[in-house]
């Protein structure tokens, strides 16, 4: 079994050593440095999630990925996620196909909503239309990925008639995933359209997603498609010890969740809920390399998944703390997970 391990960021605005926020521009330059360092540390994938907020100033992750591509040679680069519903599938394909060209075939894309909704009013979309927007645009994106002229007609963008969309890829479609939270119908849709499945598990017990993994493979079979990989995306933070990782992560986690809770429907974390989430049955990977590696291995096995992306960083954590996280993840966590799964 081949496992791949990634790091995802939302461009979480860095703090300095005194807790003062760095500029958006400096945070973005730091993300470039983190992506380059991730390759040096032996990480397989680096993903950037689209956000449009003061604390996640990352609306154009593909531009940042292009800068990382120019300074790396091996690491795969992609979105995590692209908010496809409020974007144009043709433009998304063009941007990631261009990234694929720049990087010599290292591009990927993960499509979804995340829990990110700020792009809807920003670009003039109605959240109530979310389902129709995503269904249509994901269907079109699957057509675009095949290469060759596209003919398409729908309600959410202008029709395409035998349209050649450039740049062409050199060796077929680049990997494309759909990020799924808790909706089994989204799992079936990913299978129907031929996307790989990225399970976004940001709270509660990861074990409850095992049925989704089985559902995905059975649905692929039903639609006459070959098996496709299942991945897991979850937040976390690695430091030298469990205590240090929790001490660095907890106040930032509490603050950011409290900030976004009203619009995203998260419960405000308490120390009790944080202990549960960082414990063996929760969704957060916060701790020493050994603790985090053990939890990743357990959950990949339980979910039949072959890919794990750690969403690292939080608003207010320092660039140095993130670099240490990346170093420990690459040099210690990943080799240890591979060992545990072999």
């Amino acid at each position: 079994m081949t496992y791949t391990f990634g790091l995802d960021t939302f461009g979480d605005r860095n703090g300095d050593a005194d807790g003062k926020p760095l500029s958006h521009a400096q945070t973005i330059r730091n993300v470039v440095a983190e992506g380059v360092f991730a390759e040096q540390a032996g990480v397989d994938f680096f993903g950037i999630g689209e956000h449009h907020t003061e604390y996640f100033p990352m609306p154009a992750g593909d531009v940042v990925l292009a800068a990382i591509a120019a300074r790396t040679g091996k690491i795969r680069l992609g979105s995590a996620v692209t908010v496809l519903s409020s974007d144009d599938p043709v433009r998304v394909f063009q941007r990631y196909s261009t990234l694929n060209a720049i990087s010599g075939g290292r591009a990927e894309v993960i499509l979804g909503r995340g829990s990110s909704i700020e792009s809807f009013p920003l670009f003039g979309y109605d959240l109530a239309d979310y389902e129709e927007l995503f269904e249509e645009k994901a269907t079109l994106f699957a057509e675009l990925l095949k290469g060759g002229p596209v003919t398409w007609d729908g309600k959410t963008r202008a029709p395409l008639l035998n349209q050649d969309v450039v740049p062409h890829t050199e060796s077929g479609p680049f990997p494309a995933w759909i990020g799924v939270g808790g909706n089994p119908q989204s799992v079936v849709r990913a299978a129907r359209l031929g996307f790989s499945l990225m399970l976004a598990i940001i709270g509660g017990s990861p074990a409850r997603f095992a049925a989704f993994s089985q559902l995905f493979q059975r649905a692929l079979d039903k639609f006459g498609r070959p098996p496709l990989p299942v991945g897991v995306h979850s937040p976390g933070h690695v430091a030298a010890t469990d205590e240090q990782a929790k001490a660095e992560f907890w106040p930032r986690w509490r603050d950011i969740i409290a900030l976004v809770a009203p619009e995203r429907g998260f419960a405000i974390p308490t120390e009790e809920s944080f202990d549960w989430e960082t414990g063996p049955h929760g969704a957060l990977y916060v701790g020493s390399p050994e603790t985090v590696a053990g939890k990743i291995a357990t959950n990949l096995r339980a979910l039949g998944a072959t890919r794990f992306d750690l969403k690292y960083g939080l608003p207010g954590l320092t660039h140095d703390q993130l670099m240490t996280n990346i170093e420990l993840y690459g040099h210690q966590v990943i080799p240890r997970v591979r060992e545990l799964l072999s």
């Binding site: 959240l127 808790g182 509660g204």
Partner: protein, 215 residues
């Protein structure tokens, strides 16, 4: 209760399957339905809600003692009130404009009161809407467990509220009867217990304070 009530869960998205699974586990006969063909959710039901029956919505409702509405609120306008007439309906939906967009019909007042006005032939009870779908199963505990949590039940029909309180109890939460649907506003997004998974005393304290402020 000698014979367990039969449940129809309408909605197979984030919330419906979780409630259906809890009900199956508690021993209820459960049917699950969407607005479409049950064949479309046969695989989902087999793997994600084993023990439940995928059915057409009209068939599921016709045989049900309790109907759980677990669809996105913006799809509620598509539901035929006649289908639910004479039924006990659990409203597990939420009006949550920041997350789901603005719905003019729900801008003013409690969402379940507005639902109940449209379903005038049904006994509407607000419940199972305020604990996140990602936590609802993990936090469920049998009666008497020391770490059991509470869940609110609100409605204008006392017999319906009692029946739903029984359901909530059997799937794993201490039911807290809040009085009428208006009092159930404390369970809505922005209310004091929405998103929180509280033990009974904390729940009563949080909900009670807000009930008084509404009076």
């Amino acid at each position: 209760m000698a014979e367990p009530s039969r449940l129809a869960v309408l909605g197979a998205g984030h919330v419906g399957p979780v409630i259906a699974r809890l009900a199956v586990k508690a021993g209820y006969p459960v049917a699950i339905a969407t607005s479409g063909d049950p064949d479309d959710i046969a695989l989902i039901t087999e793997l994600v809600i084993p023990g439940a029956q995928p059915r057409w919505a009209s068939d599921a409702v016709a045989d049900a003692d309790i109907v759980v509405l677990a669809i996105p609120l913006h799809r509620f306008a598509d539901v035929d009130p006649g289908l639910l007439s004479g039924r006990l309906v659990v409203d597990a939906m939420n009006y949550w404009p920041a997350s789901d967009g603005v719905l003019e019909a729900f801008e003013d007042g409690g969402s379940s009161e507005i639902v109940a006005r449209r379903l005038s032939g049904s006994a509407v009870v607000k419940a199972l809407n305020h604990i996140g779908y990602h936590e609802l199963e993990a936090r469920a505990r049998p009666a008497g467990a020391p770490d059991r949590r509470a869940a609110g039940v609100a409605g204008d029909d006392p017999a319906a509220v009692a029946a739903v309180a029984g359901l909530v109890d059997r799937i794993g939460y201490d039911p807290v009867r809040l009085g009428n649907l208006r009092a159930g506003r404390v369970l809505q997004p922005g209310g004091p217990v929405f998103g929180a998974v509280l033990a009974l005393p904390e729940f009563e304290r949080a909900a009670g304070q807000d009930t008084r402020s509404l009076a």
